[in-house]
Each structure stands twice: as C-alpha cells, then as structure tokens.
C-alpha cells in the first residue's frame, strides 16, 4: 500500500438523484452489433444500498448509479469497482439495444477500483467484438475515451492526449496508490468504467477526476488492469502486495556520504520495515534500496517507466501476492542481492473505505461497539485527523510506527450510547477507544461479547483509553433491558461479528 490520496478528487459515477431514466423507455432500433469500439462499450446502471457506519445495523436508502463498462471476452465486462460497490441490482445495456440485462459481479477489487461483471443472459454479447488490451500509452500520444457521460442512450467518445503518468491515490479506496494516467480527454460523471483506447486497443479504464478542472481526467492504465485480471485467474482476488518498506529520499549528499554510497549509485534510504511486510526480516533500517526487480531507483525514489518517472512502489505493484521480488540494497558499504515473497498486509484494510461488506458491531444494553477503521473516523468529517478523538487518530495513523509490536492490534470503539434508563446517565462525549471490560482487555468484538458474558460482580465495568475514565452498568438491569432497547431502536440483530 503506498501513497497519498489527493483531496478533491472524485470518482466518476453519476448518482441519480432527481434524474428519471426509465430503462427501455425509448425504442432504439436493435440493429446488428457494430464493429467499432463503441459497440462493445456498455451502459451500466446500478442500484446500490450503502451500509451506515454510524448505525451499523442498518442500510441506507437505495441510490441509482450510472457508469460504463466494456466487453473483454467470454461475455465478461470490465468496469470500476466504485460503479458496482454495494450494488443490489446491476443492469447492463448494449448501446444498440433497448432492454438492459441483469449482471452479477464476478470479481471486484476495491483497492484498484476495478470489477468484472458477467451477464446472465448468454446471448448478450452475441455479435460484439471483445476489446483487446494494449500497453501503457506514451506521454503526449492520443487516446479516445468511450462511455456514457451523464448517462444517455448512446456511447460518447472524446479525444485527448496522455498528459502524464504518475503514482496517485485511488479515491475509491482512500488509502491505495497505483499508476494512473492523466488525460485532457473529457472524462465526466458517467464515464466511470469506460475504456480508454489507442490504436484500437484498450489502454485504460476511466475512473476519477477533479471537479472544477475540466481538462484533467484520470484513467487506470493497463498494467493495473492486467494485474487485476491475472490475479483473478486462479478464481480469487488476492490484491496488491505491500512492500512495507518506509523510505526517505537520498537527495542529501551528506546522507549519501554517511551511508558510504559511491558516486554513480542511487537509491532511497530505508527508515523502517513494518511488521508483516514483504521485506520484513530481509531489508533492514539503514539499507539503501538500490533496485527493485532490476529497476534502478533514483535518489528521489522514482524509477523510469517508459518516458515517465514514478515512485519505485510501482514495481511492487507489478508482482502478484506470492511471487518473488528481487531487491538490491547497499548495506555495510557493499551491495547485497535479496529476494522476498510478496505479501499483502491485511491490517491495512482498516485504512480503506469499506464496501460490499457491512460493518461488524455489537450492541449491549444500548452500548454500540465497532472496530476502529476508516469509516468510523470519516464520521468526524474530512479533517478527522485533526478533529477526531486523539486516541483514535493515534491508533489509526501513528501506532504502527511508534509501537510496531502492536501493529496488528484491533481497537474497539464505543460508537454510541442508545439511551435507556439503564445507561442514560453514563457519560459519553463521542466515540472513544475501549481499553477493558470487566477487567478483560478488549482487542476484538468477540472480546466484548465474552467480557459481558463472563462478568461476575453486580456491575459491568468499562474502562476507556485516555481521559475518558471508566463507566459501569448494573449487570442484571442491563441484561433485562437489552431486548427492549433493541426493539425501541429498531435493531433486529444485536451483533454482527
């Protein structure tokens, strides 16, 4: 997992707010499938229902979403993960036909914003030509984008040039960065998932843009798309490996001399290797990372890709989980060849926006407990790193570096208190980290359940982190009130573990 999410970037689905767009309203002629690119670009209409992290037992109202997709063979359709995230109904329509068909998600990768759909109707793709995948386009070369900006009946295409290639945050996950290509071809809401084409081959998938910047759209380039499709070949999606190497640029001549790095060699200095990382136990703090898979790393941490320079993390992206990564480091004033098996760090899911899977929670006597993750912190607003409970921010952003031995620890948050006479005079000033319940350290929701079940005295005692102190429930009264509270607050299940 690498890099930073730029603020202000948005994904390019079209949310149907007041728009009425009755599928099949018009009688478009069902002509023969076209032979051009356009014919293989499909209109994707999704009805989704997001989970509600602030009230984790419920889902939000149905929302309509419009996007695009394209055929890649076997009746499979590629689109963006954000088009189909939390989908409850997916309708795919050929531009030459009026009636949409129901599609299902074959695979989805929220970390690189891609998904593969399959249409149940076997004849759906008849007469259509699957689009072939191309290569990373060169800066300055021309590309065409295809899709359904603002919905619409027909495929719209626009031309532009490749402005630059870079590593950039993918806003859908909020925590991942991969290669992106910036283009001045118009990419607007509804274009999401549509193909970007050069010389008759797909070179990317349109996915995000900056509102207010007309000529600045972004597409997912083909190396990322291929990584996704190849990952799927064994039937499961594993995701991108995490190098886990925290580095700093080596632009300081003094630092280079201190490391004894000879002139003509370049690289970045390793500050830390995080627990559970690909490079754990292989790369060491103080090493200068010289090469990844034979690619020379410059002092600023970039590598050459075609005519572009992007951060070296791109070469970890090239690998599938389980593959070998070859590393060259400078250690003790000599070169060292190393190899590591690429792994993914599961705990980083806590930093990502969540889709498709609902929140885990436990409600006990009106106290709502959830694990700390990005969705919890987002409730504090965009500037949560400055406005949320400081203990929660520390766990989310700083604990891994400062207390690596606790890197994998799960933090349980008291999210809400649903008021009832048994708890109504408890002090609750907003979400707070739970340290222990009935003397049992709380490291998972299962611990919460066990702690409440195993308490022995008259009271359930809850200890919080930081200055929030402690609280208590009268155990028998709390148990007696539990069902009533669930009913009053319309909660059908008191937990999802």
């Amino acid at each position: 997992m690498n890099a930073v999410t730029a603020r202000g970037v948005v994904t390019l689905t079209m949310v149907l707010a007041a728009m009425t767009l009755g599928p099949g309203e018009t009688e478009a002629s069902e002509g023969a499938g076209g032979n051009g690119i356009s014919a293989s670009v499909v209109h994707v209409q999704v009805y989704r229902s997001r989970f509600d992290w602030s009230m984790p037992w419920r889902q939000q109202a149905v929302q309509g979403v419009l996007g695009s997709g394209f055929l890649i063979g076997d009746g499979r359709i590629v689109t963006n993960a954000h088009v189909v995230a939390d989908a409850r109904q997916i309708l795919v329509r050929r531009p030459d036909q009026a009636n949409p068909r129901i599609a299902t998600v074959e695979a989805v990768a929220h970390d690189c914003d891609l998904a593969v759909l399959r249409v149940d109707d076997r004849g759906f793709a008849d007469g259509l030509r699957p689009l072939a995948l191309g290569e990373l386009p060169r800066t300055g070369s021309q590309v065409l984008t295809y899709g359904f900006p603002l919905g619409g009946q027909d495929v719209s295409s626009t031309a532009g040039i490749v402005s630059r290639v870079e590593m950039r945050g993918y806003v859908h996950s909020g925590a991942d960065a991969h290669l992106v290509v910036q283009t001045d071809a118009a990419i607007n809401p509804g274009n999401s998932g549509g193909p970007v084409v050069q010389d008759g081959r797909v070179v990317g998938v349109a996915f995000q843009g900056f509102p207010g910047f007309d000529n600045m759209g972004f597409f997912i380039p083909i190396p990322v798309v291929r990584h996704f499709l190849e990952d799927l070949e064994d039937g499961t999606y594993d995701g991108f490996p995490d190098s886990g190497i925290e580095t700093s640029p080596l632009l300081s001549p003094a630092y280079r001399r201190e490391r004894g790095l000879p002139d003509g060699r370049s690289g970045v200095v390793v500050n830390r290797v995080v627990p559970g990382a690909t490079a754990e136990g292989i790369v060491e703090p103080g090493d200068v990372l010289l090469e990844v898979d034979g690619h020379t790393i410059a002092d600023d941490g970039t590598v050459a890709i075609g005519d572009a320079r992007v951060t070296f993390a791109t070469h970890f992206d090239d690998r599938q989980v389980g593959e070998q990564v070859r590393l060259k480091v400078w250690r003790d004033r000599r070169e060292l060849e190393l190899a590591a098996t690429a792994v993914r760090i599961p705990r980083y899911d806590r930093l990502r926006n969540r889709y498709d899977v609902g929140p885990k929670y436990v409600v006990h006597a009106g106290l709502v407990f959830v694990p700390l993750d990005a969705e919890v912190l987002k409730m504090f607003g965009r500037n949560w790193a400055q406005t949320a409970n400081r203990d929660l921010v520390w766990h989310q952003l700083f604990r891994e570096a400062e207390r690596p031995e606790e890197a994998d620890r799960e933090v349980i948050v008291l999210l809400r208190v649903l008021r009832h006479p048994v708890n109504s005079q408890m002090t609750f000033n907003g979400p707070v980290a739970v340290e222990a319940i009935n003397g049992l350290p709380i490291r998972s929701l299962e611990d919460v359940v066990e702690a409440f079940n195993s308490g022995e005295g008259r009271f359930d005692e809850i200890a919080f982190e930081g200055d929030a102190g402690i609280e208590a429930l009268d155990r028998e009264k709390a148990r007696a009130a539990h069902e009533e509270i669930l009913q009053q607050y319309a909660i059908t299940r008191d937990r999802k573990l």
């Binding site: 997992m1 690498n2 890099a3 930073v4 999410t5 730029a6 603020r7 945050g169 909020g174 925590a175 960065a177 925290e246 580095t247 700093s248 640029p249 080596l250 632009l251 300081s252 001549p253 003094a254 630092y255 001399r257 201190e258 200095v269 500050n271 830390r272 995080v274 980083y348 930093l351 500037n383 790193a385 400055q386 406005t387 400081r390 921010v393 520390w394 952003l397 700083f398 891994e400 570096a401 400062e402 048994v422 708890n423 005079q425 408890m426 002090t427 005295g457 008259r458 009271f459 005692e461 930081g466 200055d467 929030a468 102190g469 402690i470 609280e471 208590a472 429930l473 009268d474 009264k477």
Partner: protein
C-alpha cells in the same frame, strides 16, 4: 505507513499574529452608552496604554509588528494601578493617562501574573497621583441585578454602559488555566476585553477579560482584593491550582460500583499533572468526595455559600495561596481517607508544552539551516485555529499533556522548518517533526540538543525523529553545517542562529 490521506495534514497555514486567546478589542460601536458617569468613580480609573511586540514563532529570531492597545486601570491602595493583563502580551512600554488629560505618564509593570491574568503598575511621577483615589472593591459581588461597564471611547472619553449580572461562576481568563471567581456580565457594549471596569452600587465588582458565549467575563472583585493585598504584603506567591483532570460520576451504576453510598457523591480523577497540587497526595482513580469540608456533587460542583453552584476547581484557588493546605476527603480502593493537600501553583514553564511564554522569545537553535525549537502553545498558535488545524501528531502530543512520546523528557523538541541551503540539500520540505535523538543522545530539551550537536559522531550529525514522522532520520555534514552559518545569517537575515548565543 508512508501513506495516508494526510496530504494536507501538515500544511503551512495562515499565521495568526495574535497569540491564541488574547482578546483584541474591536472598536467600540456599541449602542446606548450613557454619558452619565458617577463623578466619584472617575477619580479611581485611569487609561493604560500598552505597546508591545510578539515573537514570530515560525521565524523565532524575528519579531512581529509592534502594537499599541488601550486598557483600563484601577487605582488601588499603595499608589498602584491594577489591570487585567489579558492583552498585555509581551509588553515593551506601559503608559498611564488620567481621565480628561492628554499627557501620558510612563508606568512600570511591577507584577504580572498570566494565571490571573492580573498586573500591577507603578508610576514614579509623584504628581500623577494627585486627585486619584482607590475605588472600593465589592466583596461579596452581587449574584444578580444591574451594573455599569466603563469602556473607553476612541476619543479618550469614558462611557458607561448598562448591564446586568448574568451569573457568578468559576472561570478561566485569557490563557490562564486557573479557575477564579468570575462575574459574567450581559451588556449591549461591544469590543470589550481590555480590563473594562464593572461597577455596581458604587463599588467595583470586576475587570472584564473577554467573551464567554454571549456574555462578557470579568475577574470578580474578591480575586482583585486578594491579589492586591497579597502583592502589597511582599512576595506574590501566585494562584494555586489543582492540576488534575476528572470525570463525572452521574451514572448511579458507576457510583455504586465504585463503592459510593447513596448519600455520597463526587468525581473521579482521570489525570494528575505531576507538578500540580493534586500530585502531592492524590492519584488517578481517587474519588473526590469533599474539598475543604464541602461535599462535591457528581458533576464536580459544590454549593458556594454566597454564589450557589460552583465548579470545585475553585476550592483549590479561591482566596487561597500556595503553601496553604486543603483537606480533601477521598474514596480510594474502597477506603475513605482524609488527606491534607498542600496547594501549589503551576508555572507555565513547568508544563511539558508551555501554554504561554512572556518576557522572552522562543528558545531556538539553527543548525545547518534546520530550525529547532521546543513545542509550545505559542508555536502551535501559528497554525491559526490550531486545535483543528495543527499537525495531527503535535495535537496528540498536546492533548496527552506530554505523556508521549516519553514522560521522562521535560520538553518536546521540534525541527520546525528548514532554511534551504547547500548544507541541508534534500531536507527542504521537512517541518514539524518531533526530535528523538541527535548524535545518539536522547533529546528532552533545547539544552540537550545543543549538547548533542556539540558531540557529533565523526564527520556527521545524525538527527532521528519520532518513527512515522518523515524523514525519520537525517544526516548533516559537520563541516558543511558550520560553513553554512554565515550564508544562512545573510540569506535569511538571522542575526542569531541560537537564542542562547552571546
């Protein structure tokens, strides 16, 4: 994690020129001023004109543009003038002016305690005191009823604005952390906060320090009397303060689980500052049942015989002096104990992250163009609305009162920013990172830092930061850093590369 949506999390934000919490009076444009002022009052009130200048904590060798602000002074016995010093800041010149006269007479601030904040000014010119008489200070202050607020017009006239007592409570003023007896005033007057005198029934009842919600808050007259009397008797010992954090015990189940009986109430300590009053005898987890014989309720209030429900922090400061002893009844581990707690004041400098600094500038050092200084609230204030805008890790350090990164180190030292130079090539963008070690030595103060830079490891200075704060480690060439000194002095106008330099 190198990562995160913190692209904008360490921004260089607009700077605030005024230290946080300081009240800068707006021009008085308030309605309905009554020109009628009881002539007896005029002899006890003077205009105080303060000129001062703050340091720029981003460029700690430099100062901000100077300012001049008026305030109201109260003539007190012993030929002194008492002022709420909320807006005094780092004052350079204090002048006094009698009502209706143009001439300004120089004064000397002989005592200024920001924990009031209150100051005493002496005037050496004997003629100045002619016709001046101390006004009576009310004790007690009224809990309700009408009053007048005396505020200077831009023209130099003193206006009297009608108002009413909103409430009497325990409050904090300016950047002070000590709870003092406070009078909240509802009035139509605007732009107050410069020590305006509040009068009821011919007596002074308070000096206004700033706004709280939709009322103006004044330090109540009993506090003023106490300050003036103690100061007159010789050494001012300061305002004592509890120095603890506590939680409410409103939840009956919690009270019972702690072993409180139905007739008992109190609050539970969740934090005890190591250098405060509480640390002498109290600890986290203690339930405070009574202070000075007065029972404390489950939200930390007590019944004041004159003023009604008051926050119990006031019991450690109101009318008391450091060195006094207060009896505190506590419940600890199921046992009821009475402990005698000797009161202490807490000097700002004793805090790990000092809340204000007056009389001297930042303690800083520039090494090879890297600016090092201690983390202080004045520094955080350069981020504007810093509680919501400061760098997240520094906000965490502040909220945890310096528990982190390590309780043993008296101060947190920052690399606050970099003056780009050949000696620091590659580090230009580094800012607001917490320094852990320099040349292998742990850094808990600027003196540690100076000592560590005096002992490099061979040819290099090695600076290590709190893990997770990029770049985590950096290297300077000792010779290059030395050679850079003259360049940096010239290029950035830094006359002194170290605040301790002679």
């Amino acid at each position: 994690m190198a990562l995160f949506a913190l692209a904008g999390a360490h921004p260089v934000l607009a700077q605030s020129e005024v230290p946080q919490g300081e009240t800068t009076p707006a021009p008085a444009t308030a309605p309905a001023a009554s020109p009628v002022l009881n002539p007896d009052l005029r002899s006890g009130i003077v205009r105080v004109v303060v000129t001062g200048q703050e340091w720029n904590w981003k460029t700690p060798w430099a100062k901000e543009p100077p300012w001049t602000r008026p305030a109201t002074g109260l003539v007190v016995p012993g030929r002194r003038i008492l002022c709420a010093s909320t807006s005094f800041g780092n004052h350079l010149l204090v002048e006094v002016q009698k009502l209706g006269e143009d001439a300004r007479t120089p004064g000397r601030v002989t005592l200024n305690d920001p924990e009031g904040p209150l100051a005493l000014i002496e005037v050496d010119e004997p003629g100045f005191w002619e016709d001046l008489e101390p006004l009576p200070l009310a004790d007690p202050v009224p809990r309700d009823g009408e009053l007048s607020v005396l505020s200077w017009q831009a023209s130099g006239l003193l206006d009297s604005y009608p108002g009413t007592v909103r409430q009497v409570r325990a409050g904090r003023h300016g950047l002070s952390r000590t709870h003092l007896l406070t009078l909240d005033v509802a009035t139509g007057a605007d732009g107050l906060g410069s020590s305006e005198v509040v009068v009821a029934d011919g007596s002074v009842v308070g000096l206004i320090t700033g706004r709280t919600g939709n009322a103006w808050s004044a330090i109540a007259s009993p506090v003023l009397s106490h300050f003036v009397e103690e100061a007159a008797s010789g050494e001012w010992r300061g305002f004592p303060r509890g120095g603890f954090g506590w939680q409410n015990l409103t939840n009956p189940a919690l009270r019972e689980s702690l072993g409180l009986t139905e007739n008992e109430s109190g609050v539970r300590l969740v934090r005890v500052l190591p250098h405060g009053t509480a640390a002498t005898a109290l600890r986290v987890g203690d339930v405070i049942l009574e202070v000075a014989g007065v029972p404390i309720d489950s939200t930390g209030h007590y019944e004041h015989p004159l003023y009604g429900r008051m926050l119990f922090a006031l019991l450690f400061s109101d009318g008391r002096d450091p060195g006094d002893t207060v009896d505190v009844r506590i419940l600890r581990d199921g046992e009821r104990l009475k402990v005698a707690v000797p009161l202490r004041q807490i000097r700002a400098e004793a805090d790990k992250i000092p809340p204000y600094m007056y009389g001297h500038g930042p303690d800083y050092s520039v090494v090879g163009g890297l600016i090092f200084q201690e983390l202080t609230v004045p520094y955080l204030s350069t981020f504007g609305d810093w509680h919501r805008r400061g760098p997240p890790r520094l906000l965490i350090a502040y909220d945890r009162q310096g528990d982190m990164p390590s309780p043993e180190r008296p101060r947190i030292v920052l690399l606050s920013s970099v003056l780009p130079d050949a000696a620091n090539l590659g580090y230009e963008g580094v800012s607001d990172v917490i320094v852990e070690r320099v040349n292998g030595r742990t850094i808990g103060s600027m003196d540690d830092l100076r000592e560590a830079f005096a002992h490099p490891e061979g040819r290099f200075h090695i600076v290590e930061f709190l893990p997770g704060m990029a770049p985590e480690r950096l290297v300077l060439d000792v010779e290059e850093a030395k050679e850079s000194a003259e360049r940096i002095r010239t290029a950035y106008g830094v006359d002194r590369l170290d605040s301790e330099a002679r």
